[in-house]
Symmetry: D3
Subunit: 191 residues, 6 copies
């Protein structure tokens, strides 16, 4: 029950690769890890927050972005395709992640747990502005990384799905610069 033990688990995220890349032909030696992905997500979530008109709880937003994939330190990155197969599987996956998160947070000294527990619960619920911004950032940086892969030779057809996916997620956000972001993304895939 120490910060040291908790961070030792966080360190695992440096070795969990994002399955979405692997299953589309990116070799493990090239595939992005979850820790690095969470880093970019947090930066973009912050930039999006500066551009929205709604009031945003910035510390919660950043914390949420930093830990939104932390359960993967215990159970790995279960690909979205697995969840689509069956609504019950999506449900079970969400339950597995929640279970994993409870176990991981239990490594923290009690008085440090609450802020993380609150951020995680809000992320899972998905309705607060913080949760929606983190979700949008998550999808946008994934599409941006797909664009990087395309620049190094990967097939536009295969990776375009990430742009479409991001676009549908951010549609509801009223942030002008997100449109520009999507436009620049698209250029990589059509250019």
């Amino acid at each position: 029950m120490t910060v040291f033990q908790f961070l030792t688990i966080c360190d695992n995220l440096k070795r969990v690769l994002r399955t979405g890349w692997l299953l589309r032909g990116v070799p493990p030696s090239i595939a992005e890890n979850v820790a690095a992905h969470s880093h970019t997500t947090a930066i973009l979530a912050y930039l999006l927050a500066l551009q929205t008109e709604e009031p945003v709880d910035l510390p919660q937003l950043l914390l949420m972005a930093l830990i939104h994939d932390l359960p993967e330190a215990h159970i790995g990155d279960i690909p979205i395709s697995a969840q689509r197969a069956d609504p019950k599987i999506r449900e079970a996956k969400e339950k597995a992640e929640d279970n994993a998160m409870q176990k991981i947070l239990a490594y923290l000294p009690e008085k440090l747990q609450s802020a993380l527990t609150v951020a995680w619960a809000a992320y899972c619920k998905g309705t607060s502005i913080e949760a929606r911004l983190v979700e949008a950032a998550d999808r946008l940086v994934t599409a941006l990384h797909a664009a990087q892969l395309v620049k190094t030779g990967y097939s536009k057809e295969t990776f375009q799905t990430f742009v479409t996916h991001a676009e549908s997620t951010v549609a509801e956000l009223k942030i002008p610069q997100v449109k520009e972001f999507i436009r620049e993304l698209r250029e990589v895939f059509t250019g």
Copy 2:
């Protein structure tokens, strides 16, 4: 619905790393992939079959060993720890894998599907001699690979669990040479 499409999916297994290693500190660039693991499993399953007194359907045994992790080409390697958290999760995981396998097998021309479907069903049921030998081989080669990691500097404490795990699985098999195998494994961890 062609062999080409089916094998293209099998090829994914070369990029799916075994999560059990990653979550114990083995970096992705070193972690074993599922295709290579299945190869060793099939060889050992065959050698165990030669030593058992029960009659074994060798083609089914080998096919089973070759495809026992094939669903991971769609949904990645969900670690055992995730399953232990909750019996419902174990159930859901099994369902997800079965779903994935159905989808993958559906890529095969119809007349080629049946043998694989039969082998997969028998593996999932787990009671036939073929299924038990494949299960034993799976655990033993995992422990053997753990032993290899220990020889390159990884901690004996962390990886010993794979030996214990293998030992309990093979206990019910009455194959003398399995005992010897376990003894040689143990030597690496205590020597």
Copy 3:
């Protein structure tokens, strides 16, 4: 002289990279290893066997596919180009591989050696239906993996040779679906 020692050598195949990729510009961190290649070969050999009209000894076929590159666990993967240089070199290479195989098989307890020795001898001879199907599967999955590399940006010109190579090997097999396989392969290289 134990199964444990024998499998420890088999485990080497996970670290032997296929030289054909390396010498065409694929970095080691991306190049396929021999164990993973043998896994796909065995699966395809099995599927081809189901489609041929000749009677096939399935256990031997699968065993042959699993061990056909096992000598490389001792002597590495000597590229085909080396053999072409000189018929004497091809001969010497075959002798070196046979030598290596004898040494590796000698690690097995005596009563387990014979099946592997028989399968290896038949593979080397190359005339049985099992040997011809394994050879065909070997070439076809190599070409399929080349196609995967092309999809991630590698040059079609450089890797087309593997398709031509596969095509000439399978020409003598009278299996309709092999033609389809070749056609789908070609599409990747001309599309």
Copy 4:
């Protein structure tokens, strides 16, 4: 001058490896990248902030942790040893990093630049509680990662320097749990 261009540069940090590991024998395929390191730093900085009695500007703290190594996206990770050689070099390195940061921040639309500029300036100055906590977190997670390397076989002697380094940095912080953290770190190196 768009968020897209700015994040494309941030994405570089996933490919910048921490030189401190490389120069102590860790191969590139295993060495931690700067993005992943910044992720863990931000989490620990947050946890330290919860335990200090001084008031902390949490958004600035987190932002600072996320971007404290961002100049390395332009100029790579110049190792500390280079700086020690000569005070003028340390000075020049700091100037180079500042230059790089100005260029990177200039990719952001103007109204998004100021928060990042302020956080960076405070980090460089190094006197605010936020800057000191980020510095402490930076050193502690580096030592924790060194401990992970030791567990996978790397020499205790070589990597102990990171613990000593962390210890001297955090000495001035009056946070009880930091002492515990150091104690657990030490155990890995003496155990």
Copy 5:
């Protein structure tokens, strides 16, 4: 102060990756290391020397090529972009490299130091025929490696800069075959 200690440091160059590739999207697992780069540089420097009409001190030329990046074993590869930012930074970088080289050479027994010290000084000065040939070889093999990356799918636009860079460096050398080299390089980028 032994050859053993000196070579242990040289061995570091196998783990120092060339930053120019990393910052243009090449992942660490693919990026060339400095030792391998120095090897190709030495070979080309020798071939250029055979074609020039000026008298060349061959041992010095080869030694210079072998050690021209040796300071990077201490301070890593500081990218050229960092130096361009500011003339003072270029100056500081050169000083840091010189400092590092003095320290590295100090590991050698005294009587072995002088030849290396002389070669390094001549390289830094940059005016001798040996220094100019090594500089040209350095740029040409870098552009050639960029051409290799382009063949595996990397963007021509991004890497063309290395050809331009090489071209301007070799312009002053009056070696006919260098023109041919540049022409063949260009073909990769325009073909």
Copy 6:
């Protein structure tokens, strides 16, 4: 028949891994490549030459060190174990390497071939002082790299053979500092 084509083949050596490491459990992502190995060999060969009393043709010595493994750019690194199996195999391997070298050198414009042809022939003969120094350097840097692996956790027992091997090769050289080198090597393996 251009320098460009010749160097494109030399570039292959960056992707040819030294089989001796792979077959002793070092994963490809960590195993040294032949280009980097040749670089260290050339540096040590030079330092040995400075310490011998016999007159040494330095340009030839350095060239020989740089190209002594160049045939591996065509045929890969055939491990020594393969050669030991049978004297005929050693002979065949030497012939294969010589064949490969002739082909590679044929890419060079005619007037550049002769120096390399002479150096290669002298290396193969193995009796000149240059050839003996390169051979000694080759073995010593291999043992030094083995020592580096031991420092990162690899087993002393497995890699000690490289020290014994180096020791027997250098015994005939009358260079005092070689003894010291061997002593420092031994310390890593016994300490």
